[in-house]
């Protein structure tokens, strides 16, 4: 314990000198600044991927509960494709393989490719949960929406989805937390996010323990914050008189 040297974070990344007030000046940065910037990349990749995952995942999940065989097939194919290939392999596919097949993608920054890869991977899991949420509602709810004159899309929008999403908030929370943790694979294509920072800073400073502890803490804080936000939303949308929501 006595050997720990937390001052490593105040060191200049160029010459290793400890900077006063821990922040570099004139273009120089300290390891702390580097780490915060890496945290920013982690959060950016995660949040953008989460948006992609929730939008695409919900859409695919909904398709799988429609009466149309074609739409069900599309939803099923999407889900199976993206959940049966390991995430790390999918990242490499997006980075190495797909741009060589679709040339316009070569101009797309690798940051966006990672967002798509992580987002689509997670969308398959969210599709599964949204589908389960919709199917957990009684068939009578769908009948009731249609019987009163709503179109099928309106029945989804006003009757089925509001309940289904309330039901799947807990698994969606897990997925949102997973996305933050899974964003660490972005290091594989040189996104300068937290894991990438940890590996490089560890190498430069030989202070692996301090660096990995700090990075772990930031991952923990980020995922925990997502969890709290989700809990807040869950409480806000609770329906009086429902199981678990009675007041």
């Amino acid at each position: 314990m006595g050997n720990w040297d937390w001052q490593v974070f105040c060191k200049n990344t160029i010459d290793g000198e400890v900077m006063p007030r821990c922040f570099g000046s004139g273009g120089d940065i300290t390891y702390l600044q580097w780490m915060l910037s890496a945290w920013g990349w982690t959060i950016s990749v995660s949040l953008l991927a989460l948006v992609v995952a929730v939008v695409v995942g919900s859409l695919m999940g909904i398709l799988r509960t429609t009466p149309s065989k074609t739409l069900i097939l599309i939803g099923n194919a999407w889900t199976e494709l993206f959940r049966n290939i390991p995430l790390l392999v999918q990242i490499f596919l997006w980075y190495h393989v797909i741009p060589s097949l679709f040339l316009p993608l070569q101009k797309v920054p690798s940051f966006l490719l990672v967002v798509l890869a992580l987002g689509f991977f997670t969308s398959a899991r969210i599709a599964e949960q949204v589908k389960a949420g919709i199917e957990s509602l009684s068939k009578g709810q769908r009948y009731a929406g249609l019987a009163i004159g709503l179109t099928l899309p309106q029945t989804y929008r006003f009757v089925l989805l509001p309940m289904a999403f309330r039901i799947v908030i807990p698994p969606l929370t897990s997925e949102s937390m997973n996305i933050i943790k899974n964003s660490s694979v972005a290091f594989a294509v040189s996104i300068s996010e937290l894991t990438m920072f940890a590996m490089q800073a560890q190498e430069e400073t030989s202070r692996g323990i301090e660096i990995y502890l700090a990075v772990s803490l930031l991952y923990f804080v980020s995922a925990f914050a997502v969890n709290r936000v989700a809990l807040f939303i869950e409480n806000r949308v609770q329906v009086p008189g429902m199981i678990g929501g009675g007041k």
Partner: protein
């Protein structure tokens, strides 16, 4: 078994509201409805009964196209359900339906349940929809619960709200699919009272139910189904006094004597 096509002796109006024409339906290779035909006139109250699995719930769900059928046709107020060009949502918006398990929207307050489709389907303003909805809520005697959620109401209350929700759309006909089967016995009365009131006001009603007391009080006609066939289709008086099929006789004996 033959399909009875006898017209009721005292139909309230000669105008046809629902015409079910030789409807057959299969689930895979299993036939649930066989060549069902009947006519429901404007202002008529028709009770559909029969043992469970007889197809009566399926039949009533085909009337507003919630369940598809493979043969025959159904015409509701001049609109053919079987015609692929028919605007089903529009047709359904004129046909009120009440379900066995109420099927109120649990995430919406009672008032929102009453106004949702009025606003989204009929295009009424929020104020207009609320006025109309609360008027119907008052009719079923639940005005005090307007701001509650379905989960906070008893089964009987939920079913009355469901009836009010259907009535808010100004339906030309009301379909009831076993409206009291999921209720505790002491709540059956309050729901039946509302239905009796509706019947007496001249609402056209098709009611799948085992409540023979209700049938005796307000029905004009009783349809008895068994194994997907319409076995009897007769005036209430004729059905209760003298059911022709053996199956209906047995059914009545069992249902009335316990």
């Amino acid at each position: 078994m033959t399909v009875e096509e006898k017209k009721p002796d005292r139909s309230p109006s000669e105008a046809t509201m629902i015409e079910i024409k030789n409807v057959s339906k299969w689930y895979g290779s299993f036939q649930v409805l066989t060549d069902c035909s009947t006519v429901i006139h404007k202002g008529e109250v028709v009770v559909v009964c029969g043992p469970s699995g007889s197809g009566k719930s399926t039949l009533i769900k085909t009337v507003n196209a919630l369940e598809p059928f493979q043969k025959g046709d159904i015409v509701v107020n001049g609109v053919s359900i079987g015609d692929p060009k028919t605007n089903l949502p529009k047709m359904r918006s004129h046909v009120g339906m009440v379900f066995q398990n109420f099927e109120l929207f649990p995430h919406l307050s009672v008032t929102e349940n009453l106004t949702l489709a009025q606003i989204k389907v009929l295009g009424r303003s929020a104020d207009e929809a609320k006025t109309r909805g609360l008027k119907m809520l008052d009719r079923v005697g639940l005005m005090v619960h307007k701001d509650k959620f379905p989960g906070q109401l008893s089964g009987g209350q939920q079913q009355r709200v469901a009836i009010a929700r259907a009535l808010s759309m100004d339906p030309i006909v009301m379909l009831f699919d076993e409206p009291t089967s999921a209720l505790d016995p002491e709540m059956v009365g309050e729901v039946l009272d509302v239905m009796v009131l509706l019947a007496k006001e001249g609402m056209t009603m098709m009611v799948v139910t085992h409540e023979m007391g209700f049938a005796k009080r307000v029905a004009h006609r009783v349809i008895f189904m068994d194994h997907g066939f319409i076995v009897e289709d007769d005036s209430k008086e004729a059905f209760f006094a003298n059911p022709r099929s053996e199956r209906a006789q047995q059914f009545l004996t069992k249902i009335l004597h316990h």
